[in-house]
């Protein structure tokens, strides 16, 4: 599967291309990010190859609202998409799905993992509830989400599914519970879409797997660019140290975190730390997210999607039954009397409980705010990382920022080392970077370019709606099976049979075997027709012999009634004095013969025997006739056709000149395509001019 031509194009894909165009451009693989191209958020990557179309992820951009947050769906025709694959439940990967399913003409199938589906439902309902936009800006409502649930199908890790000839399966991605990397196989070309992934095993998730097969194209996230994560134990220690020291100084700790995903990991860390430090037992830990509470059932159930450590613990007690952590409904229920640790959403401190607490606590320097993950550009969390002197509160007042701000990333995205290592193991010939800010992505690209300098790897960093086009020369393999395969042919021998294509696999077989190897069947249609005829049977025989080369009459003893067999195809039986019965097996030539026989028999009845001598045409005359016919047919097909001096036909099409030898059928032409065409056309003409072949 060698690629021949590659190159980024600034051209929009043409999703409306007709099927004819699709076959013509069949070998062209197009990848277009509709979102997450040189940005983080609204992941959505369109891919098309051989007329099959796959869409990866369907997210929204958290920094925008309404239609502006959607990926550029108007670049494509949703009705042409065969399969939509969702990697994980985060809003920037799944939140435009209800819109896409319910408000567009998408008719394909959607897949995600079991745990993703269960959390998706809860998360999006929550999202609809908390997003404060006007009704007309609402992309979808609760009902749309419920309806979308019925359309979503589930896939388990490693399970291989096939839709419309597109084969796909998924690997553990390690980013959040249920996060998957999808491998798509269309006609032998494999594309890996990593989604968000992490190669580091943590408290509850497995590290991303390295696929068994090298993909031809790897579409990979680049969130962290060339940054390197601190080792996990160091990060955990910093995290617990900050919290411990803040608390022991009587301060409060705010952890703004997205309700699902990393929050569970942090809760596991905190619960374990508290367990090991009895002196902290009187300090409460709250996680202020009803959503996280609701999702806990999902975490408690899909233990099998997590790592061995959790599964081992599970044998004793469910590790997601936290002992030291209590839920917090709202700020009204919060009794803010002394040191405490509160984990609240949203992670960006845009609004909601985390913002309320931040406003309340930011002026006191005893307090601390720990930002545990990636923060999106344009949010308050991003602003306070740079530790400004003052911040604007929600009520518009300006307050001093005295609380300590710590940025300790637990974000389960791969860092540069992981990405490089992952790609090095896979060595895909094409790498497409998505899901990263332009700068970070650019740096990562430089780094990868130098890493893969000696290999043939090609790197792309398309912007949104910018297509990457690659060509894969498809090598079509077929399997010859059954009777046709009993003898393996030598060079030059012909192989003829039915070519059956299912998905992208080809089989060649004899017609008799069709039923054996496929669900198709063949049929023989026997036709039997009674033709009124009162004359002598001998007359028919006589007349037939004038027209047909082969008219046989088997002895009456074998057939009971006088019988004639014309060209071993049509049988005529003289069953009664008033009619004859003709029988043959349907096929174009036999039908033609039988029609002529019928016409003849009817004519005998009408006008009586009339003998017309047959003009024996000489071979030469036949030849001349044939030349004339071929010539006139060629003129009608190709236009400018003349007889050359050497007796060959000279056919001129535009600038190409072809010479056809009518006797041997050989064609001389520089243009391969034209030569093939003329050859085919000539073959068909020969078939029409020559006498009926023997079956």
């Amino acid at each position: 599967m060698a690629s021949v031509v590659t190159g980024a194009q600034n051209k929009r894909p043409n999703p409306n291309s007709t099927s004819a165009a699709a076959t013509r451009e069949g070998d062209q693989l197009i990848i277009t990010p509709l979102g997450a191209g040189n940005e983080v958020g609204r992941s959505c990557v369109y891919m098309s190859y051989k007329g099959k179309t796959v869409l990866f992820d369907c997210g929204i951009h958290p920094a925008y609202s309404g239609v502006a947050a959607l990926p550029y769906f108007d670049e494509i025709d949703p009705s042409t998409i065969d399969v939509l694959l969702i990697t994980h439940f985060h809003l920037d990967h799944a939140a435009s799905l209800p819109y896409f399913l319910e408000k567009t003409n998408f008719r394909g199938r959607v897949f995600m993992t079991h745990s993703t589906k269960a959390i998706y439902r809860l998360l999006l309902s929550d999202y609809v509830k908390v997003s404060k936009v006007s009704v007309e800006d609402m992309l979808y409502d609760e009902n749309d989400i419920v309806r979308s649930m019925d359309k979503i199908e589930v896939i388990d890790f490693h399970q291989t599914l096939e839709v419309n000839g597109i084969r796909f399966w998924c690997y553990t991605a390690g980013h959040v519970l249920g996060a998957a990397m999808f491998m798509v196989d269309i006609a032998g070309v494999r594309v890996l879409y990593t989604g968000d992934y992490s190669r580091e095993e943590d408290r509850h998730l497995r590290a991303a797997e390295v696929p068994q097969f090298t993909p031809d194209i790897c579409i990979i996230e680049s969130t962290y660019g060339v940054q390197l994560h601190q080792p996990r134990p160091v990060r955990e220690k910093r995290f617990t140290d900050v919290i411990h020291s803040t608390i022991s100084q009587g301060g409060r700790v705010l952890i703004p975190a997205f309700a699902l995903g990393r929050a569970q990991e942090l809760l596991l860390i905190l619960d374990e730390y508290w367990e090991n430090h009895p002196e902290l037992h009187n300090i409460p830990i709250y996680y202020a997210s009803p959503l996280a509470k609701r999702c806990m059932a999902v975490y408690q159930t899909y233990i099998n999607a997590m790592n061995d450590r959790i599964r081992t613990q599970f044998a004793n007690s469910n590790p997601f039954d936290f002992k030291h952590i209590s839920p917090l409904k709202s700020i009204e229920n919060f009794d803010d009397v002394g040191p405490s640790v509160v984990m609240a959403s949203p992670s960006g401190l845009q609004s909601g409980l985390s913002r309320q607490l931040f406003d309340k606590w930011c002026a006191d320097k005893k307090n601390a705010c720990v930002i545990p993950g990636y923060v999106v550009e344009g949010t308050l969390a991003k602003t306070i990382i740079n530790e400004p002197k003052e911040v604007t509160l929600m009520n518009g007042l300006v307050a001093p920022l005295n609380m300590q701000v710590h940025y300790i990333s637990f974000s389960a995205h791969a860092d540069c080392a992981q990405t490089c290592g992952f790609l090095k193991e896979l060595m895909p010939p094409h790498i497409v970077l998505v899901h990263g800010e332009a700068n970070e992505m650019g740096r990562l690209k430089q780094k990868l370019v130098s890493q893969f300098a000696d290999s043939n790897t090609k790197l792309y960093t398309p912007k949104n709606c910018q297509s990457v086009t690659m060509h894969f020369s498809s090598e079509k393999m077929a399997k010859v099976i059954g009777k046709l395969a009993e003898k393996v042919p030598e060079t030059g021998e012909s192989v003829s049979g039915l070519l059956v294509k299912k998905g992208f696999t080809y089989q060649i077989m004899a017609p008799d075997d069709l039923r054996v190897f496929s669900q198709l069947s063949t049929a023989n249609v026997t036709q039997r027709i009674t033709v009124p005829y009162t004359g002598a049977f001998e007359v028919i025989k006589y007349r037939l012999k004038q027209i047909y080369e082969s008219v046989e009459s088997p002895p009456v003893e074998e057939t009971e009634v006088p019988t004639l067999i014309v060209h071993e195809r049509v049988t005529i039986r003289h069953e009664s004095d008033t009619y004859v019965v003709m029988q043959w097996s349907a096929d174009p030539i036999s039908d033609m013969v039988s029609d002529s026989v019928v016409a003849m028999i009817l004519n005998i009845g009408r006008e009586g025997p009339k003998v017309t001598p047959i003009e024996e045409k000489t071979q030469e005359e036949m030849e001349r006739m044939a030349r004339k016919v071929v010539h006139s047919l060629m003129v009608s097909l190709f236009g400018d056709t003349k007889f050359g001096e050497d007796g060959r036909l000279v056919i001129t099409v535009d600038a190409d000149v072809a010479r056809l030898d009518i006797k041997s059928g050989e064609v001389e032409c520089e243009n391969q395509g034209l030569r093939e065409r003329i050859k085919t056309a000539f073959g068909r003409m020969q078939g029409a001019i020559r006498p009926i072949p023997k079956p």
Binding site: H114, K117, A118, L122, M149, D156, H158, W169, E201, Q212, P231, P233, R294, A297, T301, Y302, N304, D308, T312, F314, A315, A478, V480, I481, A485, P489, E490, T491, S494, V495, S496, L498, L499, K501, K502, Y506, I508, P511, D512, R515, V516, Q519, L520, S521, T522, A523, N524, V525, T526, R528, I529, T530, A586, I589, V598, G665, E676, T680, F682, G683
Partner: protein, 740 residues
Amino acid sequence: MGTSVQVTPLSGVYGENPLCYLVAIDGFNLLMDCGWNDLFDPSLLQPLSRVAKSIDAVLISHPDILHLGALPYARKHFGLSAPVYATEPVYRLGLLTMYDHYLSRRQISDFDMFTLDDIDVAFQNVIRLKYSQNYHLSENGEGIVIAPHVAGHLLGGTIWKITKDGEDVVYAVDFNHRKERHLNGTVLESFVRPAVLITDAYNALNNQVYKRQRDQEFIDAILRVLRADGTVLLPVDTAGRVLELILILEQYWAQQHLSFPIFFLTNVASSTVEYVKSFLEWMSDSIAKSFEHTRDNAFLLKYVTLIINKSDLENYAGVPKVVLTSMASLEVGFSHDIFVELATDAKNIVLFTERGQFGTLARMLQVDPPPKAVKVTMSKRVPLVGDELKAYEEEQEKIKKEEAVKKASIVKVEEVRATSSHLSESTKGDSMVIDPASATASPKASSHFRGQMDILIDGFTPPSTSVAPMFPFFENTAEWDDFGEVINPDDYVIQEEDSNHMVGNGKSLDVKPDEASVHLLLDSTPSKVVSHELTVQVKCALLYMDFEGRSDGRSVKSIISHVAPLKLVLVHGSAEATEHLKMHCAKHVCPHVYAPQIEETIDVTSDLCAYKVQLSEKLMSNVLFRKMVENEISWMDSVAEKTNEKVFTLLPPPSAPPTHKSVLVGDLKLADFKQYLSTKGVQVEFAGGALKCGEHITVRKISDSSQKGGTGPQQIVIEGPLCEDYYKIRGHLYSQFYLL
């Protein structure tokens, strides 16, 4: 020629013995299931013992004794060391089933076929797969792909598809096409034309009543007894069909707001349900859906109480109740004891939901008419007292002493080795710790040192280079280079401190048996088994209802004929059922039906020929496909050209090819055709099996019965006098086909 396939049954043909079959694919030996029965009869495993060492992989299809019971024994005694493949639930529930059996046996006998450790060891090298996961085998099995698919019947139940070079061997035993409360139906029907299908004839003669009717009767029978103050005993398996029964009861109890207590009593009941709760993705769509919508786990049981101790039942002695308990065979386990208690009271009922295994108490009770009385052996483990205890202790003491002596010698050997190796290397001799893992020195080595054993004091051994005993001494030779002492950077690396507590102790038992069993295991107080025989008058009602969750005879036949394998191998089923199904299939499905005897190897290598070719671009540009259902089809003429050793390239023929016999492709159904004609305004009706079109024309399909499911083309006859209608109808008929 195709891939060579041989099938050799090792157990479980022409009868209901456990399932165990050897399938060799191009010399790669796959063991399909490794079953035993509830009696743990070693004679059944004789054939397995002869081939166990040559097996390359074991595929397990269901988590019950009949499918995997012999794994620990075969591993321990026969040297079966091949990797085992199973789905996650089969692995987990299979493990629990084995624990339950072991613990039940242990309570009443000095069971020594295998121990809990043997079970753990046997299950340690199970490779767990997901449904439809294509797993590529490596090494000898290169090119073989195995994939588990949904079988129904039990949670995680598997039909195995083994593919090599595009040829499929499908092993499907105990499948269920019906959708149940907790399981989806099998996907067997989606496989079309595998080269070989291995399936069972177990249910070939049984037919089932409707599910709803059966469920109602089941509930009615239970309620009748409960309302008459009786107790219902449901002998069940540990973690298989019992799940379905629990859901039926839960659902009905919830609907009717019943308050009769239900108990689920096995040695591992609470772990079972705890694990089952985390297997939602393996269950039916409706369970998954209800979880996604309401987060209600179907196995969050509200009415069924999980108990692991029979004594918990004592508080409910006189109360009407339902008890689900293992084993289904009544041979051992709680069901055995409870049966003996209940049998004498006519109020009670023993409701069997599956046919008992051959030769077990359950089977005896299922005969018609039921026996009036049965003889049972009651056994109990009692602690040793008095003289017996003393004798036991003395014996233990002796054994301990012997072991201590032996161990000492081993330790010594180890130390000698360690010391000598330290001396010879003498570079980083900083450790006195002896690796405990290598403490199991070979007995040969220990015997070698036996001579010196007596004169050496424990822990002091002379290095081989010294002449007299001395303390171990290791010289720390530091290396120097131009920059000073050479340092090892590894010494300064901060270790991942939590690496050992992150990844749980690999050797630890990853299933926690319930407390009672732990108690039993840890209970080291010497005990013995006392047993006495007694005759139990069977006065209670006995009832059998089919909740086995297997496809019934009729469905099995229709599924097989739909799958239409090229070759069919029948196993597991009474001789009668096997013969019946064999006859049926030979007539209606395919001519190659085999029902081998134990250890009879049959060769089901397909006589299919095949070779691969490459389709050249030039050829394909001239091919015009026609779409038919899922396939696209075309006639192709080409010329082969050898490109290298194995692969041919097909090129377009140099000259016009000779015309071929035309082929009509399509599947004509007369009924559909009738519909079609009537939309075209032709008067049609069926008359004597033929379609009468218009006044004179008849269209018939000639089908001789031997052709059914066969591979020949359909024969269609159109007949009539010469008239306009004839050509019109012929035209319509042609339109139903593709002419190639």
